[in-house]
Amino acid sequence: MKTYTFYVSGTHCASCKIFIEDTLNEQIGIDRASVDLKRETVSIDTTLDESQHRLAEILTEKIHHNGYSLSVEKKAGEKKDNGVIWQALPIGLAFLALFFLVQKSGVLNLGIGGQTTPVTSFIIGLIASVSSCLAIVGGLVLSLSAKVSQDNVSDIKTFVLFHIGRLVSFAALGGVLGAFGKAVGINFTLTSILGLLASIVMLLLGLNLVGVFVKNKIALPSGFFNFFRRIEHKTLTPLILGFATFFLPCGFTQSMQVSALGSGSFMSGLFLMLAFAIGTLPILALLSFGSASFAHGKHAPLFFKSAGVVVIGLGLFALLAGLAGLGIINPLFSI
């Protein structure tokens, strides 16, 4: 009988202790597993003859589905985290300041003369992707991408599916709008509510990326994150999310939807919305694939926290604006 102590990561709630202890105690050859939440350690008695490193691997396999992992040494990354937030905060805020300054400057209110053609809607898409729409659509893409990369799911595949879902749904729904015209109305209140949901997701993910939930051991959202962890493995999820971005509140999208409505045929509506979606693609693709490459680089902790700050800022902006849009609160600002 030997006694080992491992460091455990991912313990964010009191019930984690019970869960880990129960799971480990079920394993053959493991006795008396006990978790020390404060020190983030697990000690076990074992009759197995494996090395401590091998044991950490074996046991991690049993509990990593639930977001925990065991290691022999304390993970180096987590020690440095406290310092990183102080670098991430100004970086994130600088991005936010730049973003809002660009909005305020009016640079984006370019005039594009004449009728809306696929070419103009492509250009409008380019503008839209750096406009205030970025606060919702881009913020959501950034937060989801960073979270997916952080959890180390096959992120590239997920992003490709997301963008495909987005392009296909814009083309298809654009075609539907063109073909059926006024019969299909897109409800303002519905899009506003979707926008609110998106901003809440952004806030939660942003706080998670910054590490607030880890540090303060807030137990409440663990259900949310477990749910999230489960759905992000599915192939269909990124496709559906891409589809849903069609309905997110964005003035440019809505304005293009009206153009598609008025275009009068399936094909013209399809090309209008597809060209618009392709126009928004470069920035959104940069956000998601950029996240992936940062996430696997050595500045990953800094990237996640900076992205978290940006996402919280955009989420707050979208939330307050969305509540004002629904008439629940008075508008606090006008950019």
Binding site: A97, P249, F252, F317, A324, F333, S334
Partner: protein, 131 residues
């Protein structure tokens, strides 16, 4: 990076963002005092309040007379942004305006008070004070 430097930087940036958001509110009354005269006019007993919608609404605050027939004219000129998606909650109005054109909205004879218009995402707004 030093922690103190970083806190100072962060504070400066927060103040900067604050100015972007709220700085304008203070300037508004003076600015609109000038514009009000131009965007409200009475023709044939009907009061027309004109608002330009593109990259936001201007003027942001207008003052008009209460209790006379009033029409709100919202002008769009190659407006693709959110300001084309107009919502006026108090009269239950919501519509995505044509990209270029004039939308005339009948307000009836508004009582004294404030009428507020927003874009559907909520980041742009305008107010008309009826006295």
């Amino acid at each position: 990076m030093n922690k103190i430097v970083s806190i100072i930087l962060a504070t400066v940036l927060v103040i900067g963002i604050g100015i972007v958001f709220f700085g304008q509110l203070k300037n508004n009354p003076g600015l609109n005092g000038v514009q009000t005269a131009q965007n409200v006019e009475i023709r044939d007993g009907v009061q027309y309040v004109t608002i330009n919608a593109r990259g936001g609404y201007s003027p942001k605050v207008s003052t008009a007379q209460a209790n006379i027939p009033t029409k709100l004219v919202v002008k769009t000129n190659e407006t693709y942004d959110c300001s084309a998606a107009l919502v006026i909650r108090s009269i239950g109005y919501q519509k995505i305006l044509p990209q270029t054109g004039e939308e005339i909205i009948d307000l009836g004879s508004p009582q004294s008070g404030t009428l507020q218009g927003l874009c559907s995402m909520g980041m742009y707004n305008f107010k008309i004070n009826f006295n």
